[in-house]
Point group: C2
């Protein structure tokens, strides 16, 4: 029941900061109950990756305590310049490293997979078909085995696309495993604990996830599995950015002092955004597309200055890749080098199409949208089934991956035998038949002068298959049956391959599936259209991507940068619009579905209609743990030990009235720092404030996630427990507050736009306590609200909510 | 002293909502004093366009009064669907109309200017040089005269680029003339009042600005002035969106009932954003570039749902333009039709460049940045000089425009005589010499077989000149001297032409200037580089645009969509980064400079360092006008008449304590509605609440800007003045509040991110009043803060502020 425990963990994590009595006494049960009663689809299964660490929230609020103010007052001009300089240098470094990793990834994949295909083709030429199958399937199996073992043992979080994890991080969800390389090794206990020196592995945890992503992605893609590299590259980019942004790990002496400026969540968020933009830029050599992808899909907060920094990062990636490709053109990179800067160049000066083609393109968009949403639906279901296998332990996980690899090898090698050999066209623009790894006309088992059209697609790397599908002047190359078989194979394999325990992107599978669908439609239409089949394939890829990923401008630019066909732009825009609209009527964006299945508490931008009916007073739960300005140490310790909250209001006596006044909000991390340094007072009377002599602002900077101290680690004597502590200098004296009568919708706007972790609710008329409670991310989750208001769940708003697909939400 | 009055108006406007005693007694003087004492550069001169209307702020906060809540409670499913449907239909309409206007604009310009050049060339061929000059300069003069008369008399706000106005609007600055077509006719008094039936003109004010923009832009661009069409197209797009979004004008029976959903600032902001994206998309046939331009440069608030709607709008524009171009290809559009969907197509499959070219490209970026910032500096200065002329009245304005037109004609016709005739190359890829309007080798005055290279550039439409500059395989076509003359001419003319009273964009002049600079550098480098001169021109245009407009990703995509040269992308990114960085060291973005000169209180995203040192309590000014929950009508009327504030806190007695409690915030517009309907109580005791029978939510919906009633229009009897009014149902019961100890920086984040007009400041310890004051946009303006804290202005922060260019600001 490893996952059951993990699932409880998740639920506990969900209540962090929320202060309701139930959760204090039996948090796991009560929340498990309330959740499952309302949303059985999202909470029953916690998928791979989520089953490791407790989830926390990031905090983008400026904690304005006395140290922060002092720090700003004394900050000199040189420090400011250093700060700016550091930001830009870090972005430069991120771009450089991610670009390099992206290049190495491409280089390795092209060479490993290419060599495999060359060897197999040579066997085929010698009619040694059995040997050929073995020389194809055994390397595939070994590579898959390698990728899955590395992923399963070293960094299970690296499995899957990684985009949902990074997206959740950028929304403020901090599941430490996502980016911070912590506690991943806990899972090693199942079977490997004895064999590995745990301490040593923990010592190198910083690079674990990164290495897993890089090695795992190269192996998985090279092993002819239908998985992409874009998702893992985004995850890699985010990891690099996070690693640099938190300045290394203090515990293992890897801290870089020159990075100490960035000890807060805001700066790290910016770097991770730049890193994920660089990831897509490196994967597709599409710098502008990567940047837009980060804006449109990844980032929850955006501003103009960040746009420029991300542009800088992706520009570095682009320039670096351009330079490497320049070097590789001279043949120094082995089998790598085709494609140039534009991966699937299909430029044609006369992309002639007329109004008459529009209805067909509309149809392409509609069907693409339906297929895309079906893909999302099936993928979600398959992931849930896989999860039952994956939770049994490492061995079944790896077994599953191997099964998929063998299935893939069999299909890829076996299916081309179904296609009949066709004579080479006399006017072919390239060699026919080809024997090596690429080329439009593959020989496979055919006699000289003949080619196997299905093998040209299926017995190939994904990139080469896409190039063949997009190619122009090849309208007569493929048979209807081959294209249909290829489409069905791609669709099924990509659904089956994603959930295995290896880094696996979704972009390339979606492109190859969509392109085969588009080309098939083009072949059905035949000569009734002006567009050549290659352009149909591009439009089909656009429609399938739109139907599955539901992006607009970023997909548009990525497709443009992949294909270099600007004249087709209006058509691509049309197709994307339609497929997204159609697909939104059925279900959500694939990344959101995966994110939901993993149980990340993602905070949406839009407001559900019923949130306008509820006030924050309806949602916030009392009573609440308060501290006085001068508090007994014993009390502080007791509260910290018995709750999991991360923020506590600090109140003071009011000299003018009986009701106390709100002084501010103190964070758990700061309380722990305070207890650790034992800055105690013997009496509850505030003496001369010597806090500045004992602490500096650096003590209150946020560490890398998961690196904070724990209350359990602090040992205090009996006398110390009886002493007092002055919380004033450490409390954020100006937390954001809302009045209890504010609608939940309006409070959500504040919470989301400003990026809060805690939002204090104050009463309209103060009688007794100056603060009613604290709202956290958890309190804005629809599941939580609907559990508190079961009637609402069955009201017309709930119905409305179901009927409106997310993108059509009015707000 | 018309402008002095306007300037005072501006300053009055600046204090709206701010409640300080000085501004009540002598607002104009006190603020003029405080402003000019600290920033003599930005406030002394109010330029054309700003001298018409008072400036107000837009309000994006949800005013949660009882009517709003009731409206939401009773809102049915059908209404919701209608709402969503309407939003999308409006975006569709905006795209359709803006696309159509863009096409008509292009069509008209190409035909008018083209005909002019054909006629003149024919005269030249017949050696009638005097007649040729007249047939060139007289149409130019007539067109300029027409454009300037229309602009000066009908809609002075239409002068200039329009982008700064729309940007200010999207930031929340509502100078009614910008988009709302109101009171523009006030200025007619100077000389024209007698000749025009004022009422009739006001009756048609909705279309005034639009028509002025369209006609004015066509005339100005056709008259060979060095002005662009992109800015006016953005302004046009914003106007179309605003017009549709506010559902027409109620006064003149032009209200469209089906648009009544959009009676608030948030929805209108979204439409105007879509409209401005459509503007650039239509001007450059660059749908993705237009969208990104709206994100990067125009919008102050952005969210994912809006991205999709803007994408939809620009897609409509793109599809429409593509369809029109398809029709025009068959020659039905007169002289229009060259260029296709990509205006300056310079695709080359082998854009070969190597690492060795990088230093040169860096140099190009650095010099481009310097030139761009010099351009901004000179343009700002020239605008200030022009303003002295423009403020003298309509006649001098028009005279100035005519002078520039004559100067332009003389230069364009005269300068080519300086260039020597060159023999046509034998291997020219196109006709040489050409006589008509376009072509790389213009005959001008030369003998047959010879061409005038300077005429090919200068005696041409801007679009054709850019095409010639960007053309490849023409490296030997131009002489160094011709290119230098052309560059200097373009630079000077574009600086001189912008400020005249006609719609005038900056994009095309910047492209043509930058391209000539780039090509000149290319010619100097000669054969030392792999890049052809056309590519140098593209890079030069990028560097000059980057240096002047300081955008990154949007310029990158616009250039890409204009030139169709994807392989050059890494180079363009590099150049843009460098030129922006260099130029930022000298001054600001051109649009920001113009916006500042016009006096718009633009709220920046980034926080100035000294804002961290000040608390909101330091800035907010007491005393303040408060209302009680049940207030005497006479008091309300008195306060509304004697102040200009737009929001008033409503307080109630506290049953538990002596200090009153804050109930909420009531808006001026709502108070006026209340007074107008005379919903009074005879006694100060709250009776049964019958407010719902008298009012509906529609009464509190915001009208189109400038259409609200005024307190002066409301007449009340003596008895009515003695009655009471219950403000509770009408007050926003949950305004956003901050505590007085919050730093200004932190409050600004809330104010800016949530888009507020009023932010209530509450005391830490309530003694007496529950609210200390109200912060408005004005209170966050650096001029205001530094005027309140003169010491700060001379502190190291001020120095820091000067040294750091805006883009290098740490936050």
């Amino acid at each position: 029941m490893a996952t059951a425990a993990a699932f409880e963990n998740l639920n506990t994590a969900g209540v962090e900061g929320a202060q309701d009595p139930e959760s204090l006494t039996e948090p796991l049960l009560s929340h498990q109950r309330s959740r499952s009663s309302i949303s059985n689809s999202t909470s029953q299964v916690a998928l791979v990756g989520a089953d490791v660490c407790p989830i926390e929230s990031l905090d983008y609020e400026i904690a304005e305590n006395d140290f922060f103010k002092e720090d700003w007052r004394t900050r000199g001009r040189n420090q400011m310049i250093q700060y700016i300089f550091m930001k830009w240098s870090l972005c430069f470094l991120i771009g450089l490293i991610v670009g390099l990793i992206g290049f190495l990834n491409n280089l390795a994949v092209e060479n490993i997979a290419g060599t495999k295909f060359v060897v197999t083709s040579n066997m085929m030429l010698a009619n040694k078909f059995g040997m050929a199958f073995l020389s194809f399937s055994i390397p595939n199996l070994v590579l898959t085995l390698f990728a899955s073992i590395v992923t399963a043992t070293v960094a299970p979080v690296a499995a899957g696309s990684g985009i949902p994890e990074v997206k959740a991080y950028l929304n403020g969800v901090d599941a430490p495993g996502i980016l911070s390389f912590r506690t991943l090794v806990i899972k090693l206990s199942e079977g490997l604990r004895e064999y590995v020196n745990l301490d040593r592995v923990v010592g190198f945890k910083i690079t674990q996830l990164l290495l897993t992503l890089i090695i795992g992605s190269i192996s998985a893609v090279s092993s002819s599995l239908l998985v992409g590299k874009a998702g893992p590259m985004v995850h890699t980019g985010a990891c690099v950015a996070s690693l640099l942004g938190q300045g290394g790990s203090k515990k293992y002496g890897l801290t870089w002092k020159w990075l100490r400026f960035f000890k807060n969540d805001r700066d790290r968020r910016d770097f991770v955004t730049c890193g994920s933009a660089a990831g897509i830029a490196a994967a597709f050599r599409a710098p502008v597309g990567g940047l837009l992808f980060a804006i449109e899909e990844m980032a929850s907060w955006w501003r103009s200055a960040l746009l420029w920094r991300a542009f800088f990062t992706t520009a570095i990636v682009a320039i670096l890749l351009r330079a490497f490709i320049d070097i590789c053109k001279s043949g120094k990179c082995g089998l790598f080098g085709t494609g140039g800067l534009i991966m699937y160049d299909v430029y044609s000066a006369d992309a002639s199409y007329h109004l008459a083609d529009v209805p067909l393109v509309l149809l392409l968009g509609v069907v693409g949208g339906i297929l895309g949403s079906l893909y999302n639906f099936l993928l979600d279901k398959v992931l849930r089934i896989y999860n039952f296998i994956n939770e049994k332990g490492i061995a079944p996980k790896i077994f599953l991956a191997c099964t998929i690899s063998i299935l893939t090898s069999c299909l890829l090698f076996g299916l081309p035998w179904l296609a009949s050999c066709r004579p080479c066209p006399s006017d072919a623009s390239e060699a026919c038949p080809t024997i090596g790894r690429s080329g439009n006309y593959k020989k496979f088992q055919c006699a000289p002068g003949y080619y196997n059209d299905l093998a040209s697609l299926i017995f190939n790397t994904n990139d080469d298959a896409i190039r063949n599908l997009f190619s122009k002047d090849t309208d007569k190359e493929f048979q209807h049956s081959s294209m249909l078989i290829f489409f069905v194979t791609c669709f099924s394999l990509s659904v089956l391959s994603y959930g295995i325990v290896a880094p696996a992107g979704l972009f390339v599978p979606a492109i190859v599936t969509g392109a085969s669908y588009g080309r098939f439609v083009g072949m059905l239409v035949g000569s009734h259209s002006n567009l050549n089949h290659g352009l149909y394939a591009v439009l089909g890829a656009a429609s399938f991507l739109g139907g599955s990923m539901r992006m607009t401008v970023s997909l548009c630019v990525i497709i443009l940068e992949l294909t270099n066909n600007l004249l087709l732009l209006p058509m691509i825009m049309l197709v994307l619009l339609i497929s997204k609209t159609v697909a939104d009527a059925f279900n959500g964006n694939i990344y959101d579905l995966i994110m939901k299945a993993k149980g990340f508490p993602y905070l949406e931008t839009h407001v559900e209609p019923y949130m306008r009916q509820l006030t924050v007073g309806d949602v916030v739960t009392a009573p609440l743990q308060l501290f006085h300005g001068i508090e007994k140490v014993g009390n502080v310790v007791h509260v910290l030990r018995t709750t999991r909250h991360n923020g506590f209001p600090v109140i003071d006596e009011n000299p003018l009235s009986e009701t106390p006044v709100l002084y501010g909000l103190i964070l758990r991390a700061h309380l722990i720092t305070l207890l650790k340094k034992k800055a105690f007072l013997p009496t509850p009377n505030p003496t001369v404030n010597d806090a500045f002599s004992q602490f500096s602002a650096v003590d209150f900077a946020k560490r890398g996630s998961g690196n904070g101290d724990k209350i359990e680690d602090i040992k205090l004597s009996e006398e110390e427990m009886e002493m007092y502590v002055d919380l004033h200098p450490f409390a954020n004296a100006s937390p954001y507050t809302v009045v209890e009568t504010m609608s939940l919708a309006k409070a959500l706007i504040l919470f989301r736009e400003v990026g809060l972790r805690h939002l204090l609710v104050i009463p309209k008329i103060s009688n007794g306590s100056p603060v009613m409670g604290i709202l956290t991310r958890h309190d804005f989750m629809p599941e939580h609200i609907l559990a508190l208001n079961p009637l609402l769940a069955r009201s017309r708003w709930k119905r409305l909510r179901i009927r409106f697909p997310p993108s059509l939400k009015p707000f």
